[in-house]
């Protein structure tokens, strides 16, 4: 009997290990024509993003944006007569899978990487990419990305510090709101948001009335939200990804919390709106470098091309990936398809007039330092008149 019991334990642990191993083995690459070097043939660029899992909507947008840039360049003859080959790798939004992918793209001779959309995954991949000399332009925005101090890591948007500084300035100085509660998750993005926003508040002499931390996988927020409700804040700052943010807002409304929420990029997305319910997000204050498709001629043109290619409205993440891809391709062109450190230097030297604004990279790999404020009005993100 005990022998059997022991055997079962052994079997169960074997099963658990196998499951983990299988999950790790899910081959992330989708195209496998490696062996082409940098000397001729197409220029191999890797796009790494979550194509499955809770964060896969981000990955889908990124892919669409980057693909649009690739198509544009290839149509006009590519770079120095060479076509761009964009291969997609699925990191599942998981840092462990990300490191496996990093080794894979290094081994298969990709010269640059676009992605990922998750700060945690990008940070996990950074050492391998730095070692292999592969420049990487990420859509992450956590200040943790800058802290990695990799000369091969670039951001295609502002960091949380910029997002939250702009947001805090608007909330505290323009709106005069000083009673603010925080709910953020303990992931890389959430932690970055938490620290950046708290800092931006404290420079204005504001201390949050409540500071609730949730996990990235949490489903029930009753405890955190009830604590917040008792403090009766005028506004709640939200630092979590799209789906989780949506669930938090939905549950907050059902708990009778009526004050507006405020946050950065995730709160401007359709996934956030769908998860929370459109009626629940009315009045949400969003800090974003890309409030709408109608900002200027470039964004209108991008939105039209996006709509024509995919039949849906363009949004921030697609625009960021598009900008990021444009910067990498411009650098490749300027450097006559350099690789490694020379390419990284070329990216740093690239001045790009993008959809998000004018990029000029500093030593930390950040190229843009401004966001705008919008509020969700009648279900749509509208820029506030300043």
């Amino acid at each position: 009997m005990s022998l059997f019991a022991r055997r079962r334990v052994a079997v169960l642990s074997l099963v658990a290990v196998t499951t983990l191993a299988l999950a790790a083995c899910k081959a992330p690459g989708s195209n496998d024509n490696s062996s082409s070097t940098n000397k001729g043939g197409p220029i191999k660029i890797a796009l790494v993003d979550a194509q499955s899992g809770q964060l896969s909507s981000l990955g889908a947008w990124e892919l669409k944006g980057a693909k649009l840039a690739v198509t544009e360049w290839n149509k006009t003859g590519g770079i120095n007569g060479r076509q761009i080959q964009l291969d997609v790798f699925d990191d599942q939004g998981d840092p462990t899978v990300g490191t496996t992918v990093a080794r894979k793209i290094a081994a298969e001779g990709y010269i640059a990487m676009i992605g990922t959309a998750e700060s945690a995954v990008t940070i996990a991949m950074a050492p391998t990419l730095q070692q292999a000399g592969i420049p990487n332009i990420t859509s992450g925005q956590s200040p943790g990305l800058v802290a990695v101090k990799s000369p091969f890591l670039f951001l295609n948007g502002p960091t949380s510090t910029t997002y939250d500084e702009t947001l805090a300035k608007y909330i505290v100085e323009t709106k005069g709101i000083r009673s603010i509660a925080l709910i953020t998750n303990n992931g890389s993005f959430g932690k970055g948001e938490h620290d950046a926003f708290t800092k931006a508040l404290s420079t204005r002499g504001v201390t949050p009335v409540a500071d609730q931390i949730v996990t990235t996988d949490q489903k029930d927020f009753s405890a955190a939200l009830t604590t917040i409700r008792q403090k009766n804040p005028q506004l709640i700052f939200l630092g979590a990804e799209e789906v989780e943010s949506g669930l938090i807002v939905k549950q907050a409304r059902s708990l009778g919390i009526t004050v507006p929420f405020a946050g950065a990029a995730p709160q401007g997305t359709p996934v956030f709106a769908d998860t929370a319910g459109v009626a629940n997000i009315e009045g949400t204050i969003v800090s974003s470098p890309y409030l709408s498709n109608d900002v200027n001629d470039a964004t209108k043109k991008f939105a039209a091309a996006y709509k024509a290619a995919y039949g849906e409205e363009a949004e921030l993440h697609g625009a960021k990936a598009y900008d990021g891809a444009q910067i990498v391709f411009t650098a490749l062109k300027n450097s006559n398809v350099a690789t490694g450190k020379a390419l990284a230097d070329a990216i740093r030297a690239t001045k790009h007039k993008g959809l998000l604004g004018d990029f000029a990279f500093d030593d930390t790999g950040v190229g843009i330092f401004a966001t705008s404020i919008g509020t969700i009005t009648n279900g749509k993100l509208v820029a506030v008149s300043s």
């Binding site: 019991a5 099963v15 809770q54 909507s57 949730v214 009753s222 009830t226």
Partner: protein, 289 residues
Amino acid sequence: MQVFFQTFIGGVSLGAIYALVALGFSLVYRTMGLVNFAHGNVVMIGAYLASTFYLSVRLPFALAMVVAIVVTGIVGVIIERVLRPLENKDFDLMLIGTIGFGIVLEALAIIIWGATGRAVPSPVPAAPLSIVGIRVRTYDLMVLAIAAAATILLVLFLQRTKRGAAMQAVAMDHEAATAVGIHVGRSNAIAFVIGAALAALAGGLVGPLLYVSPSMGGSLGIKGFAGAILGGFGSIPGAIVGGVAIGVLDSFTAGHFQGYSELVTFLVFTVIIMVRPTGLFGERTVNRA
């Protein structure tokens, strides 16, 4: 005090879902001695089917649930059919087989519905009830009522019907059951079908509470499994109590330990299991290995 009760209520409503998931785990285990590792993914399939019939086909929510339960039940039949040649022969291969099925189901969901997932609006749009400052969502009450009804039906089936009694007999001793003319294979198939139907019920109900995506089976499956173990694996009341307990525990650790809640939940779980290895209702656990 208000925080305490509100946390408790939040925990109970998700706990009811975990209880349904735990029931499915326990039912298959007590009948076949098998842990169905695909169960979490069956929940996910149920959630997708229910949301598809509700949102895309535009059936009323209740009808969409019924259709989802039937279709998911058929998925259960298929899993059992494929695994049947291994029954009572190679237990380890069967376990691996269920894991394989889990991966297949997740891949299938990605092929059919895409990787991104979808949000399901609540079918009960009524405003939450407010009882002395405690807010209770009407949908949560509905979930609790349905979970309770499903449990009662299941217990009645197992105790009052001939088939149910036959399943109990197979659970106790499958060789003796065969000797008195009980079809063991059929009894196992019924266990799988009911397990899958319970999974679909849980999945369909959890859709409007959470977000339906191909990977949602993972955390629901683990919490449900933990609930089943906590209550005493194989025990029907154990699954209910265990599932709700995990939900409530999760809510309270979230309130007190915030970012470390998951860690604390499973630490507490481990301690309880160390003190009472057979779970809360463990004396009735069936062991067929």
